[in-house]
């Protein structure tokens, strides 16, 4: 599979063209204009520009890296600058075309506003073209120089930039938080300008990110390793203190952050619960379930129907009575779905579960079942849960419900993972036939996985219904299943902390960036493909899976005997 290493002038052209095409794609799909108002740094750099220049930077970086292996450093830098220049030329070409022809009838986003952005603040056309070329070259050059920085330092720099980007994006949200209490108002005023970070804030987070990354990558200072070296008693104390601190912070979060961030956190939390459930089905047992949203819907609808005081009122139970019923029904649905698909594997299973999910969606929307579950109008007036006189009314209160759910479900998933059934799931994931031969009862093991996953989703659905107070069928479409699947893949299939990380990135970020909502699924799709191509084990990989996917050849002397695979 090894390609012959070479890098010629033609490759520069190729990289430049790819960079240019990706930049054009980002423009045409509407990101540059949509993100134009989201400033990262002090009203000078906005997210639109970042999305426009990142593809050029990445391609120029690759070009420089490849060129450096073959030829001189000087050549590498020239190559990267040229790649940037060519990419810039593509953008300039779009500017010219867009000004002279009406591209808008086909490409919706080539609007006067966009063309103004592409002018980069220059008045005349010539100056604007020149500005595009120069900026392209500068970005390319920067990428070339970046490629020369030693790995550890470039990593640190990237972490710093990521910090700046993240904090810049969160400006609006954090400003509200900082503005809410007197005693941390000055901090907010120091960090943030009117739009985006202030220069001081930028420097602060850049340095913070760099230091953090260096600290973690340094062999002697890495926190985990340091703790591991301590004597046992001390280690346990440190860990206990860390856990207690974490719990206290989690409990205090809604009070520190206020209402809107808590709302985001509860949404993230509901996805974490679902993620933990799907992680059991997909991650542990290796059964790709694309109809997972059905169990979420069953949980939500059960609570809705049993507790609503609106038009469809039936029993008028309270939340706590309906909750176990919701979980139980979801679990039963999991078993019922599990039975017919017992004999299926891999992709057929995925399609069948997808089919089930769609059937349920069509049925819920139909007039046929409308008298029972409300059709497209959904179920309204679901009362909030309460304990005694404490009502979980707003996001700041529901947060605790979600947190309790996550802790319980997380504990169950963690204990199951290494229990007998957890090991059976993993064995089944690796090879069903071998697992069966080792005495694992496939039917009950599979059904157990479906049931547990479905029960978690049922819990998530119940909390979801209580949180919103009304449920509609369109909250339960295929997109939810895909979201949950994406977040466990991004976090790392089979990894429990990965679910949390994945949910924070994939569910939390879009809530923060409202302009982003339009591109959410685009991003998820691209992320699924990219993760599978580049990092199939996810960002927080499960240990065994990482070993599996990045296997070091154990006995290299065997390799020459098995060349058949390499041919195709």
């Amino acid at each position: 599979m090894d390609k012959e290493l070479k890098f010629t002038w033609k490759d520069i052209l190729k990289y430049g063209a790819i960079g240019g095409i990706v930049s054009l794609y980002v423009i045409l799909v509407g990101m540059v204009e949509a993100f134009d108002e989201r400033y990262i740094i002090a009203e000078t750099i906005n997210l639109g520009q970042v999305t426009l220049f990142v593809p050029m930077f990445v391609l120029a970086y690759f070009a420089a890296n490849n060129a450096r292996k073959i030829k001189s450093t000087a050549f590498a830098i020239i190559a990267s600058a040229l790649v940037g220049l060519i990419s810039g030329a593509f953008v300039a070409a779009l500017l010219v075309l867009g000004t002279h022809y009406n591209l808008r009838s086909v490409f919706l986003n080539v609007s006067p506003g966009l063309l103004e952005i592409l002018h980069l603040g220059r008045e005349s056309m010539m100056a604007a073209i020149l500005a595009n070329l120069v900026i392209g070259t500068v970005v390319g050059l920067a990428a070339g120089l970046f490629a020369l920085v030693p790995h550890r330092w470039s990593n640190a720099l990237l972490t710093g930039l990521a910090f700046v980007l993240l904090m810049g994006i969160m400006q609006e949200l954090m400003s509200i938080t900082f503005g809410s209490k007197d005693w941390y108002k000055p901090i907010g005023e120091f960090i943030y300008a009117k739009k985006g970070l202030s220069w001081g804030g930028t420097a602060l987070f850049l340095v913070l990110g760099i230091l953090l990354s260096l600290w973690r990558s340094s062999p002697s200072l890495h926190p985990g390793k340091k703790v591991a070296k301590m004597p046992r008693k001390q280690r346990v104390t440190v860990q206990l203190v860390a856990w207690a601190l974490g719990l206290i912070i989690l409990l205090a979060l809604p009070r520190i952050l206020g209402s809107y961030p808590s709302e985001i956190l509860t949404t993230v939390g509901i996805y974490i619960i679902m993620g933990l459930g799907l992680n059991i089905v997909v991650g542990f047992a290796g059964l790709l379930d694309l109809g997972y949203v059905a169990f979420f819907a069953i949980g939500a609808y059960t609570v809705g129907i049993l507790t609503t005081t609106g038009k469809l009122a039936t029993l008028g139970w309270n939340f706590w009575m309906a909750l176990p019923v919701a979980i139980f029904l979801a679990m039963m649905a999991g078993v019922l779905l599990g039975i017919p698909v017992l004999k299926m594997r891999g992709d057929y299973l995925a399609i069948v579960t997808l089919g089930f999910g769609e059937i349920i969606r069509v049925l819920v929307l139909s007039d046929w079942l409308k008298p029972y579950i409300g059709g497209a109008q959904g179920i309204l007036q679901i009362p909030k849960p309460r304990i005694g006189s404490y009502v979980f009314k707003g996001p700041e209160q529901i947060y605790y419900l979600v947190l309790a759910g996550i802790l319980i479900v997380g504990y169950v998933a963690w204990r199951l993972r290494d229990a007998r059934v957890g090991r059976a799931w993993k064995a089944m994931r690796e090879d069903e036939d071998v697992a069966e031969a080792m005495g694992i009862h496939l039917v009950s093991t599979k059904l157990m996985a479906f049931a547990t996953g479905a029960a978690f989703a049922g819990l998530a659905g119940a909390i979801f219904a209580a949180k919103l107070g009304s449920i509609f069928p369109h909250s339960f479409n295929l997109i939810v299943s895909i979201n949950v699947l994406s977040l466990i893949i991004v976090g790392g299939i089979g990894s429990l902390p990965g679910v949390v990380v994945g949910a924070l990135i994939l569910v939390g970020m879009p809530e923060l960036l409202r302009e982003f909502a339009d591109f959410r699924m685009l991003f998820y799709g691209a992320l699924l493909v990219a993760m599978m191509l580049v990092k199939p084990e996810g960002f927080v990989p499960e240990k065994t899976r990482q070993r599996e996917l990045h296997e070091e050849p154990l006995e290299p002397e065997i390799a020459p005997d098995t060349p058949a695979q390499a041919e195709i």
Binding site: L288, G355, M532
Partner: protein, 355 residues
């Protein structure tokens, strides 16, 4: 005898068969009630049937793309529905331009050919890029990996179309020459002209594809690769190129299917390919996935079943507004086929293990 039967089939099998028989009984009973009530005139049934045939031929063309790719790579190209969308959605802009120029009225045959050419080109490009960027690097990876990639690609493409072309539903221009019932050989036939055209074009494409796969050298190479990649490579066949060919061929069929779909339903949007994609996949499985004539038959069967079903048996069962459940029929069929006969009606091409 019962004991022997019980020994050969476990409980889950029996439960499944009971569910299957239950559904079958419901279908038979519903059809009986509807037919004996005489609610629909025979000519209405004929209309349903012909409409089913027309939409079925669109499904069949899309299904060919699934079957060809599955036959060779054993992967479900989940994003094939979006390959279909890409062609017809891009051709929409050409169609609008042609209409503005008055060309559709002047020469509708040429206009249609131009639209098909555009749709085929774009679909082929999307399919080939998909293979090159998303699938090729993953050849030989565990089977779930390319499937997840394909799902990701599917959503990526849907939202790309939405981002670039806009999210609204767009109405295809009308072909005045195709309005009304078909007049040919001096009399009027009980079939709309568009439907007749769709059926004829689809039939031509299917015959072409069959000829291509069975008779040409490229088709022979394709079949050889489907049989055994290693052996084919040893015989001097460029496997990568055959795979690209296969994707391109599937894409071309999807492009034509797109234009036919636009003729039938008149509307396009960024997400239009998803449901027909899944239905076409159902058709491919129905006919035995990997089996070219099977996909054609499966598509026609599914189209007709879906068109007749709501009024035939759902109505008879007393379900209100049965047409809302049209998609549920196709999906139920998908689930049932995959459960009871994953090799399809025609196919014993591949066993579960080989697949």
């Amino acid at each position: 005898m019962l004991r022997k039967f019980m020994r050969n089939h476990d409980t889950t099998d029996i439960v499944m068969w009971l569910i299957g028989f239950g559904l079958l009984a419901a279908v038979v009973y519903g059809s009986y009630v509807t037919l004996s009530s005489g609610k629909y005139a025979p000519s209405v049934w004929l209309d349903f049937f012909i409409f089913g045939l027309a939409q079925g031929s669109v499904y069949a063309l899309i299904a060919l793309g699934y079957t060809l790719v599955y036959g060779i790579l054993f992967m479900i190209n989940f994003a094939h529905g979006e390959v279909f969308t890409g062609g017809v959605f891009t051709a929409y802009f050409v169609a609008i331009a042609l209409e503005k120029a008055g060309f559709i009225e002047k020469n509708w045959v040429l206009s249609l050919l131009i639209l098909m050419a555009v749709a085929m080109t774009v679909s082929v490009i999307v399919a080939v890029l998909l293979e090159r960027i998303a699938y090729r690097p993953l050849r030989g990876a565990p089977r779930l990996v390319p499937l997840i990639t394909a799902i990701g690609a599917s959503f990526f493409l849907q939202y790309t179309y939405r981002g670039i072309y806009g999210s609204g539903v767009k109405t295809y221009p009308d072909f005045p020459a195709l309005d009304g019932k078909l007049h040919a050989f001096g009399r009027e036939w009980p079939i709309l002209t568009t439907q007749a055209l769709v059926i004829v074009v689809a039939a031509i494409m299917m015959v072409f594809l069959y000829w291509y796969v069975q008779k040409t050298k490229a088709g022979k190479a394709m079949r050889a690769v489907a049989e055994d990649k290693e052996a084919a490579a040893l015989m001097g066949i460029d496997v990568d190129r055959v795979i690209v060919n296969t994707f391109a061929l599937g894409g071309a069929m999807a492009g034509v299917a797109g234009i036919l779909y636009a003729l039938l339903f008149k509307q396009v949007n960024a997400f239009m390919g998803f449901i027909p994609g899944i239905k076409a996949f159902t058709a491919a499985v129905l006919g035995g996935i990997g089996n070219v004539p099977g996909a054609m038959l499966g598509g026609l069967f599914l189209g007709i079943f879906e068109s007749l079903g709501p009024s035939l048996f759902l109505d008879g069962l007393g379900i209100p507004s049965p047409y809302q459940l049209k998609d549920a029929i196709a999906f139920t069929m998908l689930v049932l086929v995959l459960i009871f006969r994953p090799t399809g009606i025609l196919g014993e091409r591949l066993s579960e293990k080989k697949a």
